[in-house]
Every structure is written in structure tokens, then in C-alpha cells.
Amino acid sequence: MGQETPLLSLQNISKDFYGTVVLQDVSFDVKPGEIIGLVGENGAGKTTLMRILFGMPVIRETGGFKGKICIDGQEVSFTSPFDALDAGIGMSHQEFSLIPGFTTTENIVLNRESMKNSPLNDVFGDRMSILDRMDMRKRAEGSIVKLGVKLDPDMLVSEMPVGHKQFTEIAREINREKTRLLVLDEPTAVLTETEAEVLIRALRQLAAQGISIIFISHRLHEIIEVADRVVVLRDGVIVKDTPTEGVTVRDIASWMVGRHVATERVDEAHRYFEEIILSVKHLWVDQPGETVRDVSFQVHKGEIFGIGGLAGQGKLGIPNGIMGLFPGGGEVLLHGKPAPLNDPRTALQMGMAFVSEDRRGVGLLLDETLEWNIAFTAMQIQNKYLKNFGIFKIRDESAMKKLTEEYMDILHIKCTGPKQQAKELSGGNQQKICLAKAFAIRPDVLFVSEPTRGIDIGAKKLVLDALHKYNRDFGMTIVMVSSELEELRAICDRIAIVDEGRIAGTLPPTAELAEFGLLMAGERSAKSEEALSA
């Protein structure tokens, strides 16, 4: 490609959100007709980088960014995504930005329709123009041909297979005459393998026509197949920027997840479990953004079972589905007895508890006191902390106080006393309250979802220690869902990785990091659960 001016050049981009650094000194170039594969775990900074590139208002509202963006060697500063579009950068989002009730054509030329003047233009403005449907169709067909795929221009998007929706979305971006750079965020996530192959061919064809592409994907073999160069982001820093030639999936996977700071594992001894306490078969859950498609796993009594995976792949849907917070189906057996789905109360009564990732929404009664918060579920489900007066019951205030003080002590909850309101606590302490609330009903199986999200490092350790302590001291079985592989590896006995709504594989915490990376990337490992539990 020689020394031509890069089409896009990112120079020393840094960004922090209120002191938390998410991007640091990120620089790379995109040459005309080049395909860049951009990979990284969740939170690595991919999304923020693309937001900066598109001039999303959220970046300016949070204090802007440092560094320069150049197009054709000229520094640019976009104030809205529309400026980026005008400069020739198109983006296809992970969530389809299509109108279901419109045809392919209507979507491809959305808000850029061909128009003919009408008599009312002079009265009410240009929006009274009549649409020129013939010309719209011609333009749409042009884009479809350019993309080199088969699409019916008159089909409704709602009736399309999902792959066609993706093509429609890309066709719309290249329909803009000026588009020279396409950013594709996980374009293959929803595609079948054949569709993904067609898409990759189409992208190659576009690149041959001189359109540059930034291809974001967690399917690493596709990156190797399609990209000329791969850029790996980890914790806001580019750890690798290399041509894809000779690079293997395994290499990328280890670059992606490799960590320098590993949380120390508390005990190394491999524990053995006999009895199966929880058995999940063919579970599906309809949680928006975290769809679970077909998940089966078993948890032993006394074990800490970890569930990891990238965001949006469905790991959060598993506990939410089992506890009945989102509609789902399949079979869940607790102690060999079927547990009904879609019924949170029965799930609680059967001895399962859940610490939600949504602390403020589901987890806490923000305007109530700590003792209320901790005793609430136990009171509702198990009639604890109530004095019975026959036809009515009153709260046993002193018992509640005692309980709260006990947990304040065990979990080191920093607060002024049991009467403080939950909303006044810090994130870490709120999380501890959530745990205390779940501990208070002494569940047989405790689900914890993202227990350390949004709390500082010191508090993280306390939360993990508390889980560990309850598991060891009381034999409480814990299913822990987390995006942070390190903390799963620190306390879990087995870790299942969820990918696209299914369990890609289950690994011991001592497995190599690259193994986890491969599972997250959808490159199924040969290791089976049977091999592990043996």
C-alpha cells in the first residue's frame, strides 16, 4: 500500500470518565481500502473509541477527549454523528437500526429518499415533495449490487432473515455517495456461518472498491479471515497492532485477555463434590440484550460455580431466568425437584436467592433503612423477624436490629447505624447490603450477578472474601456471574463461558487464559464438562 496518506488517522486518543481512564494514547491509521480488525474484551474501550470517532454528544458532555482525529491528513472535529456521516464515515451498529415495517429499499435510502417537487413545496416546504419510488429502488439496487449480495428490494425488513437485515444495514451505509470508511460493530454476531461467509466476501469486495472498513468482532477467526491488520485493545491501551498474516486465533485470544495483575487465588487445593444440587436443562430466557438460547449445566452442593463471557452473550440472563425475573422456559431441578420458572416467590421459597446486577433497581429499597433492606426478603418469604399475633403480625424490631448489626460486623459495612437509609451508602457498601439480604434467608443456592460491578478495588476484595467465607463456613452453594474473568478465577471451582446464549465450555479456574479467550470468541474448545468433573 506504500506511503500514501491514511484515510483515517487516530493520534494519541485518551479519554477518561470522571477520572477513570478508559482510553490511553490510542493511535492507529486506516489506509484506503484497508480492513482493520478491532478486538478487545468488554470494557477494553472499543465502544468509547468509536463514540469519539463519531462525535457522539456523550463524549463532549463528559469532558471531551485528548488527541487528534485526522481524515486525509486534515484534523477534524465532529460535534454530532451527522458530521461524521458528512465526512464519509458510516457505521452499522450491533443493534439493527432498521425500520421493520419498511422495505429494503425504504431502509437503504431512509431520509435520503429521491424526491420530485410537488405544488405544495412552495407553501409548506420541501418535505411536501413526492417520493420518487422508481429512483429510490434504482439507487437501492445499485448499493445491493455494489455489496455483491442477493437482497429483494421490496421485501419488508420484518420478514427478512436476520442476515439480510445486516446486509440492508451495510447497504444503507454504502448508499451514501461519500462513504469511504465503514465501521461495523459485531456485524456477524447474529449471522449463521454461511451468512457470515457471504458478508465477509461482500466486505472484501467493498475493500477492493476502495472503501476502508473497521471490523469489530469477537469471532477471531473472522478477523483473521477478513482483516488486513488486527488492532487489539486491552484496558484502554493498544497492546498489539499487527498485520494478520501468520497470526493465529490463539495469539489474538491471549493478547485480548492477558492480564498483568491477577487476583491471588485464596486456596489452591482442588475440591471434590459429590451431590448435585442444581441441574439446569435447555434453559431459554428472554431478557432483552442478554438472551439465553439453550443452556444446560449442573452445580454441585458446596461449590462456587462461575459463569463468564462477554456482555450481551446471555450470561446475565441465566440467573434472571432461573429466579423468574424474565420470561423463560426449560427445566430447572433443585435437589432433584423441579423449580417453576417465571415465579420469583416460589424460587425464593425453594431456597434460591439472587443478588441482582441491578442493585438500585431490583436489589435495594433505596429509601428504606438498612435493617429493613436486610430483613425484607426473609420477612416476606420465610416469615422471619415477625411476631405473630394471630390474625396480624408485626415486625420484630429488635431481632431485625440484631441481625443488621451482625451483618454490619461480618461484612464491614460502613454506615452510621442500622437506621441509615440505603441510598446514602457507597456502591460497595450497597452491594454488601444486597449480599447480607440474600445471606439473611440462608439460601441453599445463591446466585450473585456482577457482584463487583462499579465498586472500587478494596471493596471488591471484601465482597469476594464475604462470598468465599460464606461458601466455606456455611457450605452455601454459589453461582457467580461476572464479566471479570479474574475474579471468577480467584474464587470459583469451575467456570462456564457463555457465548451467544449457549455455554461454550466449562473450564477449571487454573486453565490457561487463552483457553478462556477462545471460548469467549466462540472458538469452541474440545474440552467437555465430563472431562473436567472426572
Partner: protein, 170 residues
Amino acid sequence: MNGVNKESKVGPRRMLVRGGLAVVYIAVMVMAFILGKGHKILIDNKDSQDGAIKAFENVNVTIDSQDPIDFMAGDRDQTSVRSQWHTITIKVGDQQPVVKKVTLPLNENVVLLSIPKLMANVEPYVVPFVPADEPPPPADNSGNSNEFTSPTGTEAPAAPTAPAAAPTNP
């Protein structure tokens, strides 16, 4: 809203069309007002107040193409017309009919037309009607404009949302 389709500038042609339409809008409204304005004409065949102009013994008046009305001296009759301009054909006794053009004042709902003054061409033959004392207003028949009044003639029950503040008439 970050408009990609920025409002196109309003060119001189558009200004002209819009301005023209505004004028037409108002013109049509004024036209509807003038042409549709109904007037009640009280037709007098009386002596003028100073007695200078005498009423006719017998006069026959036709307004536009309405039915002719016969007047004896001292008679008053009324008719309703639409718009300002009218042709009045007056036949006094057995003489040849005289055709007069009359323009009514636009803004008066009720006017008084004096036939003797009109014949004598004494201004003002058309005067606004000022009632001596206010006639009692017609009874407020509280008919319901609810379309669902049944064909049998039974009144619909009051709508449940009927305004509480509806005034009562003395």
C-alpha cells in the same frame, strides 16, 4: 434534533407564494363574510319623523327575487337577505315599477329601510335599527346537539361529562 435536512432557505419565489396565499386566505374570509352576511331588513312605509315625507297609500315592494310585499300607509314588515347589495322593485299604486339599488351597511344585523325616503331619495333611507327597549330574548330551548337523539324523538340522557359550569338562564 440534528437536522441532516437543514431547512432549505426560503427563496423569493416561496416568499411570494406564501405571501400570496396569506392574502388569498384573508380575501376568501372577507368574501365569505361579506357575501354570507345576513341582514334583517325592516321595511317601513311610514311618515318621516318630521313629517316632511309622507307614506304611500299603497305600495308593493319586491326585494331581489323574493315574494312581493304589499304595504298600506304606516305598515312595517320584515325580511331577511344575504349580502350587502340588493335590487328593490317598488310599485306605488298603479304606476310603473321603479327599480332601486340599495347597499346595506356591512356591520349591521338589522336595518330599517324607509320606502318613502328611498323613493324621495332622501338620505338616510337605510338606518340601523335601534330597538326602543330590548325585546325579550327568545327562550333558551336546551335542545341537545347530541346527534344521538333517537329517531323517536326522545332526548338523549345528559352526557356524563356534561360541563358543570353551564349557566342557567333567568
